[in-house]
Subunit: 364 residues, 3 copies
């Protein structure tokens, strides 16, 4: 990793925003506001942390217009409508300067089939395997120990980290990032039962991944049984996710770690799926559906919105009592019903009997 | 992937069933009924989709005897008692015709210890590592980047996809399929506590996998602590499953993605374990037990049957209210008890007091 | 694996404890008490299995002082205050004798950058890749197919099994064990939303792992966004765990398989996190917190103790009824409230009205 030492002015020139203060100030780090150093650029995206502004010694703070005066009172600032987005773009400007770029060309130790089509500007890492008929696009980076299967396609400027498996015939678009341990194109899980055994259904489809998709470490995306498994543009998948065969994930949907999507589920666009949530097979989620972490989605959701289902945590003793009661919850409801019935009968009788009784008394 | 172009007759001759219609019809795809093309063979396994029969333009439809007339009315058909099973076998007939078979022999880039015993008909992929004393059976396929540890054994016709790790001394039988990223024979998770630290218990057992087992991508099967971890014949494991040390999985049991089985659990034969279900350590599940997705099995189950335990999903606002109430469920039960007691006392008093009172009144 | 054949005396001399009986007895196995062979050494750690003592034919049993007489009555014994810890140490003494040690030096097929600093006593396995500027300490073992990224550091006597990915700039201390498929230093999952898309936040931090840490197969530890992700001394992580960016895991904490820790969570020391538990982002767990399996921790826990939250399993029919009721739990509570109110009003009216009424009656 190379050390970075730039003038503040260079950042503002590259990324925009209104720079207030000394543009010649040297910047050597991006830091969180709270423990920034005097050569750091920091950002304030969440007004909750506003109090850190006064005490931070950061060389420059990226802030929204509303905080301009406060920021300027303490030193240099870059004013921009969306400081978090500005930070994202700053990180993208920063990373290639801090890291060694992989060299274009095929590493001497890689095993590339002569029939593979590897762009001259692509980088094929040490001990990578590129099988027959595979295509590697312009500027693509194939990390060390990757396997790109026969007739698979990697789009331009897509990066595969070390140890990625891209199965035969699978396609990944442009500007994607695939992290280590990802397996794209393993067989979907399909069997026909017969006489107490399971007969394999060969998975004859593939996986098609569009552009600008990011896939986290050790995530699995299975190939389709007949048609393909499809991931649309801009989808972001965290680590250790399971996408089963013939699933369709709509554009710009985000899933956190350990999400499992069962076969042939159809997830809409712009969905947010929390960690360890499970989506049952053959169901459909509308666009803009948000699922909370650990929730099990057992039926289609036709309406955008936020859905949840997870057991609340408690101290173990309380949980034990509540869980034991939960196992008899239906019976408890029946008891409440009985009480309601009794109460209602009593109320009925109360509204009839006592009155005459009182009357009787008085009548006596 | 090779293009397939066969006469319908060839399929029926290979797989049986009663062929009705033009056997010379060319078949180039296996398709779902609903979007089949005119050169597709499709199947109808679920009567629910019966309405698709009339409108499908598939060249041939595989149907059960009950749908013979309906199928024949629209074109060629193969009539067979179990269309889904027929489809499975068709997929198996199809796949090797559509794909390049790996060549027998050891790829020049593979690293094979001279003491390893590799069958002449086995295929060892690019950059695979076969360590000392390992055995690779007839017709076995070891994918690119696989590691087969010292003295490990791979049975005849078993296929390891790319990037499989088979640990030293571990054994896998015949006709198994192991997908990419699988780790067989990592250490089980065992430690003895001492003075606030954890002392490692070396895992001295191995993993023994029988015949016809399939193991999904990135699944882990740990070696035993003293004895072995055992997977019996015909077990099918989906992706991202965790089988801990000394677990025993009975024949023909199926587990969906993310299932976790803790140490020394003993799972019966013909069980169905839903995705993300957890089986606690040191417990036993009888044969033919079905566990629903996301359920946590904390105690042995002695009786075949279907067991479940997962929080139902709801819109987030409803969930919040219900979850908050759940945290006080035990208290709610106590309140119901109190009401029942009060109601019962009142009933008792109601059956005694009013009568005398009325009598009193009347007596007055 | 080499066969082991030692005199019982050798074990006691190496590991201590009071040896009672024939020290020349040959020991060839470590076995569980119940199915030990006549050349086995077994241990009895849990008094629950005490009854197995009399019937075991093990050559020697490791027992606590309280069971000395019982053990000696049946044959040789080693008496030690903590038999389980003794067993752990015995397994550590045993393992290197039973297994081939990897040879020091760099395998001819490995790809080691000339600028990497590899200790002469380290072992670099077949087809491993060591990138520019990486450091491999004394006695460290890098397994086959490992990737050690640029400027990454592996401490002395740390072992990476086959297929480990250690990302650029990441650091792992001494005496650690990292199992196959582990990915250390993939990008944390960070994006800024903008106009319906997600803008990547480059992850500029790294991962720092201290000493004596063990990491199970296919576990992922992401690099930090700005600062580092930190794993302190003696932490033990099981398989398939997800540690997100900027998480901090305190010393000697243990996590079982499938635990997910979201970004910037801070886990205390000596915590026990059960399998598939989830820790939300940006929260803090105190030292000595125990979380039950499958529990979702949504808020900070300031106090040591045991916390749980998981739906209890039941037969499917019962679960369905209880789960359906659960979806209306809040309404049920309201119904109980109504009943309580009614009951209370009745009691109030009962304590006021009837009395005068009776008085009235009597007054009449």
């Amino acid at each position: 990793m190379a050390a970075i030492d730039v003038a503040l002015r260079e950042i503002a020139e590259a990324l925009g925003g209104e720079l207030i203060g000394d543009g010649s100030q040297r910047i050597r780090r991006i830091g969180p506001l709270e423990d920034a150093t005097a050569d750091s650029i920091a950002f304030l995206a969440n007004p909750r942390y506003r109090s850190q502004l006064a005490t931070s010694i950061a060389a420059c703070v990226i802030v929204a217009p509303a905080l301009r005066d406060e920021a300027v009172a303490r030193g240099a600032a870059i004013v921009t409508p969306d400081p978090y987005l500005y930070f994202a773009r700053l990180s993208q400007w920063w990373a290639p300067r801090a890291r060694c770029a992989p060299a274009a060309g095929v590493h001497a130790s890689a095993v590339v089939d002569p029939s593979a089509d590897v762009a001259a500007t692509a980088s094929i890492g040490a001990l990578a395997v590129i099988e027959a008929g595979a295509t590697i696009g312009d500027g693509a980076v194939i990390g060390a120990h990757c396997t790109v299967g026969a007739e698979a396609q990697v789009g331009a400027n897509t990066r595969l980290a070390a140890h990625v498996t891209l199965g035969f015939g699978c396609v990944i678009g442009e500007r994607c990032i695939v992290h280590s341990g990802v397996v794209i194109g393993a067989d979907g899980f399909g069997f026909a039962p017969t006489e107490g055994r399971w007969e394999k259904i060969e998975q004859l489809g593939a996986v098609r991944i569009a552009n600008d998709v990011e896939i986290g470490a050790n995530t699995c995306i299975d190939r389709g049984a007949l048609g393909d498994t499809v991931i649309e543009d801009g989808v972001k998948l965290d680590n250790l996710i399971q996408i089963a065969h013939n699933v369709h994930v709509g554009a710009h949907t985000v899933m956190a770690a350990f999400v499992g999507v069962a076969g042939s589920a159809h997830i809409g666009r712009h969905c947010l799926i929390g960690g360890a949530a499970r989506i049952a097979g053959h169901i459909t989620l509308a666009d803009h559906v948000q699922i909370s972490t650990c929730s099990l989605v057992t039926h289609s959701i036709a309406k955008a919105g936020h859905y949840s289902g997870a057991f609340p945590i408690d101290d173990n003793a309380s949980w034990q009592k509540n869980a034991a009661t939960l196992r008899n919850l239906h019976a408890l409801r029946e008891r409440v019903r009985t009480l309601e019935k009794t109460s209602s009968e009593r109320r009925d009788s109360a509204s009839i009997t006592p009155a005459p009784s009182a009357t009787d008394s008085k009548a006596v």
